[in-house]
């Protein structure tokens, strides 16, 4: 069987005809396998959904309890047979509950990695390599320019700035699922034990992380009552980047805007976003991790789903590995 008879890109997303399911479909389908809870991968309205316990919980938190017809949790490593097609979920190291999905039938095995990273992250299970014939990878940071530094070093920059500018509130832009909790956990690991103030839109997900055993320390709502501006001098406030253009952000004393994202590697991106303190902290693979993963797995073929496809395909070509871009539209990861 040719690989693209087992799995191919259809208008709604990657489709497996023998098992009659989609992976991370962009629109409602009868049966969906979901890699992780980021909104561009985990949409509401499917019939049956198969995902990890955490991913299902996160979908329920974000879309409400009726986000799909039936939800079936799956353990890491457990094999499920769908009309003769065997599927299993494996840790992707991206955010809490994130999984790669292995799909096998007639002697061919795919690994759909979803979003993944290989650097350590105390808020989720670490990435595990999955042997496969066809490796489907993202390429969000698929350019040789991307080298994510040690995240503790980045948190160090934040702590230095807090010392230098104790009168300014430090507003950290971090996507609400995964990045925000990772930044808070990193702060704690670097010895920061003062309260961290969070934007209202983060509270449910932070509570959920805590309920799954990830200690985030003293979290408090970042709400400004009349006259207490000064309470936030020198405070760390975490919120989604979208909230920073709003009045909410302008009410903090002398706000210093930091942004935790892999995009902060490029100075112009930071400058355009009005970011004063870029923190290069990413939940995706950087270029060395992407290329290392492909070398380690040594698949017969590589498919690139989203991101900087052309550069990674070029790299595979130079390494003698057949590769093609899938040009899947619709994945603009909220968590980069």
């Amino acid at each position: 069987m040719k690989p693209d008879q087992l799995l191919y890109p259809a208008p709604a997303g990657l489709y497996c005809p023998s098992g009659d399911f989609y992976v991370d479909p962009m629109r409602p389908v009868a049966r969906a396998l979901i890699t992780h809870g980021h909104s561009d991968h985990a949409r509401a309205g499917h019939g049956a959904v198969l995902a990890t316990r955490e991913t299902l919980d996160i979908m329920a938190i974000r879309h409400g309890p009726d986000f799909c017809g039936t939800a079936q949790p799956v353990e890491f490593g457990e094999t499920i047979d769908l009309s003769g097609t065997r599927v299993s979920f494996h840790p992707a190291g991206h955010v809490l509950g994130s999984a790669q999905i292995a799909i096998a039938a007639d002697g061919t095995r795919f690994c759909v990695s979803g979003d993944y990273k290989r650097s350590p992250d105390p808020t989720c299970a670490p990435y595990e390599p999955v042997a496969c014939d066809v490796f489907i990878t993202e390429a969000t940071f698929g350019l040789p320019v991307f080298h994510h530094p040690d995240p503790k070093g980045e948190i160090g920059k934040l702590l230095t700035s807090l010392k230098q500018f104790p009168e300014r509130s430090h507003l950290i832009g971090a996507y609400s699922l995964g990045k925000a909790q990772r930044v808070i956990r990193l702060l704690r690991d670097c010895g920061y034990d003062r309260p961290v103030y969070i934007h209202g839109s983060l509270s449910k997900l932070c509570d959920y992380y805590v309920s799954r055993g990830i200690d985030l320390g003293d979290l408090r709502p970042a709400t400004l009552e009349k006259g207490d501006r000064t309470d936030f001098a020198g405070a760390v406030v975490v919120g989604p980047p979208s909230a920073f253009g709003e009045r909410w952000a302008r009410r903090f004393p002398e706000p210093l805007v930091a942004f935790a994202s892999g995009w902060m590697m490029v100075r112009q991106r930071a400058k355009q976003g009005g970011v004063e303190l870029p923190l290069v902290i990413s939940d995706h693979c950087d270029w060395p991790e992407l290329t290392e993963t492909i070398r380690d797995l040594a698949p017969a073929e590589v498919w690139v789903t989203h991101g900087r496809e052309e550069a990674l395909v070029r790299w595979c070509e130079l390494a003698g590995i057949p590769a093609r871009p899938l040009h899947l539209v619709g994945y603009e990861d909220e968590g980069d």
Binding site: L143, P144, V145, F146, H147, P149, D150, K157, Q164, F165, M265, V266, R267, Q268, A270, K271, V275, E276, L277, P278, W287, P288, E289, T291, E292, R308, E310, A311, R314, W315, L318
Partner: protein, 546 residues
């Protein structure tokens, strides 16, 4: 290199002046010698580093990586230095330890010791041993493209903040010191005496005057001030110590080579301030000639005997900074002037005279004198407080300038466009601007705002100069229009004359000039010396009031 790179990364993204000052002061406090001194030099524009061509860097990166991948990366990042800094490691994963990276001082020393054939290997090795952020800083330094929106003045203010010393004290020493400024830091930290300058024949920052604005003289007692004519030459500083003699323009360029007649006549010891003119001195009873005669002598590397004879130069002395070795800047104007008179008296009478004082008893009387001066080469009057010390910079209060023709400003070239007809091969339509307060506070927040366009007034020879400047200093193109470099420390200053000025809602600056023309190229001035929008607004208000 790590600390310096981290500082640069923060400075470029920090908009507020106070934030920048804090970052700089902390860097000076926390970074050891000699690294901080080289960092200071890099920021203040005094660092001497062997330069590296972008083409070499490109070559080096392509030795190690696929050209297609490099192109994808460059297209994405958009800046060559940053692209190279980021792609250099490619798939290499191990991070470079902060404390194992070469220090800034080691990088500078190593680069400057290299022979021609060694540059390639050394740059490759340094790029290997620096992390991406330090690599970026190194490439920017070595290609001379470091632009971080921090002036030398702000760096000196940060030194003042970190040490508690007065900035004028630092300014005083500045031109006599060299990177890595260890003696300066030792003094700033109270570990050593104030550094003694090796030779006083260095350039000292000059004292500048503010234009008289509406109401500025109200309430000031004329008896507290002296007035002198403002002569239409170029402001110079003459330094003589031992056998070393130097003639500097007001921005500190050494122009001695073009004026051997002056240098030869510097028989005194010390540092004086004056106007460089062409013609004869008052002491030799001959006329002062016009600025266009002086221009024959400017911007030359050397000068021939014929030139010296046809366009003899002399200096009309205004002030004295050092009397032999004694620093007399703290003394008052009257005391300094008597020292100056003595010095000029002893100097060759055909090359030096003393700028005469203009007696007056009321501001009204001085205004009449200003409007109708006795010599056509006078462009106004200078007003100086009798008790004022000689202080570098443009302080408000001690000195004023009051020009004869108010419709005359120094502006900075901002944009140029090709002309029409016989001028179509030249950039001959110019947009110029003056300084205005931007959204940020303090002098760092200053920005240029365009105030007019001119396409005549200059000679063909001047057009050649302007055109060459535009071609060599284009930073951006918008169709037929080129934007040129216009920064406080680098750019082209022109004197713009105009027939009138009005308020305008159509212009972003809020003013519109009538018939502006480029009266003169001011290559002796730096853009930071150009006029401010407030000066133009004052002209408008004066006109409306009158």
């Amino acid at each position: 290199m790590k600390a310096f790179a981290a500082l640069l990364d923060r400075l470029v993204l920090t908009p507020s002046r106070n934030g920048k000052l804090k970052l700089l002061a902390d860097y000076f406090r926390d970074t050891p010698d000699p690294d901080r001194g080289y960092g200071l030099a890099a920021i203040a524009g005094t660092l001497d580093l062997k330069s590296v061509k972008p083409a070499l860097l490109r070559d080096l990166v392509l030795e190690r990586m696929d050209e297609v991948l490099f192109r994808y990366s460059y297209d994405y990042v958009g800046d060559l230095a940053e692209t190279i800094a980021l792609v250099w490691d490619q798939e290499r994963k191990e991070r470079i330890d902060d404390d194992r990276q070469p220090r800034l001082s080691a990088v500078v020393t190593r680069m400057n010791a290299l022979g021609r054939t060694e540059v390639r290997g050394a740059v490759r090795d340094l790029l290997d041993r620096l992390d991406p952020s330090a690599r970026f800083a190194f490439i920017k330094l070595a290609t001379g493209a470091l632009r971080i929106g921090v002036s030398a003045r702000l760096a000196k203010q940060a030194l003042a903040d970190f040490s508690g010393r007065d900035i004028t004290e630092i300014e005083t020493l500045w031109h006599g010191l060299e990177p890595p400024y260890e003696a300066l830091f030792a003094w700033l930290e109270g570990r050593a005496e104030r550094p003694v300058l090796a030779t006083p024949a260095i350039f000292h920052s000059v004292m500048l005057a503010n234009p008289v604005g509406e109401g500025d003289l109200d309430g000031l007692d004329p008896a507290d001030f002296a007035a002198e004519w403002k002569w239409d030459g170029i402001r110079v500083q003459l330094s003589a110590a031992g056998s070393t003699r130097r003639l500097y323009s007001r921005s500190g360029d050494d122009i001695s080579a073009a004026f051997p007649d002056i240098v030869e006549a510097m028989t005194f010891q010390g540092v004086i301030d004056g106007e460089l003119l062409v013609g004869g001195t008052a002491r030799s009873n001959s006329a002062t000639r016009t600025f266009s005669d002086l221009q024959q002598r400017l911007n030359r590397k050397t000068v021939n005997a014929r030139m010296l004879e046809d366009y003899p130069a002399f200096v009309r002395a205004y002030d004295i900074l050092f009397d032999a070795e004694a620093d007399v800047r703290p003394e008052n104007f009257v005391t300094r002037r008597s020292r100056l008179a003595e010095l000029v008296e002893a100097a060759p009478h055909d090359r030096f005279d003393l700028s005469p004082l203009v007696p007056f008893s009321s501001w009204g009387e001085l205004e009449r004198l200003r409007a109708d001066p006795p010599d056509p080469v006078i462009e106004g009057v200078m007003i100086k407080r009798l008790d004022s010390a000689y202080q570098a910079g443009r302080l408000k209060g001690p000195w004023f300038k009051w020009k004869r023709d108010p419709y005359n400003v120094d502006a900075v070239l901002m944009y140029a466009q090709r002309g029409h007809g016989k001028r179509s091969s030249y950039y001959s339509d110019f947009t110029f601007g003056v300084w205005a307060q931007g959204p940020e506070d303090g002098p760092e927040g200053d920005m240029l705002v365009p105030v007019g366009k001119a396409y005549f007034g200059f000679t063909d020879a001047e057009l050649e100069v302007l055109d060459r400047f535009v071609r060599n200093n284009t930073v951006e193109r918008f169709g037929p229009v080129r934007a040129v470099r216009a920064e406080p420390e680098f750019g082209f200053v022109v004197e713009v004359a105009f027939e009138g000025i009005n308020r305008s809602t159509r212009h972003k600056s809020g003013v519109a000039m009538r018939f502006p023309r480029i009266a003169r190229l001011r290559e002796d001035k730096l853009p930071r010396d150009a006029d401010r929008l407030e000066t133009l607004m004052a002209l408008v208000e004066a006109k409306e009031a009158g």
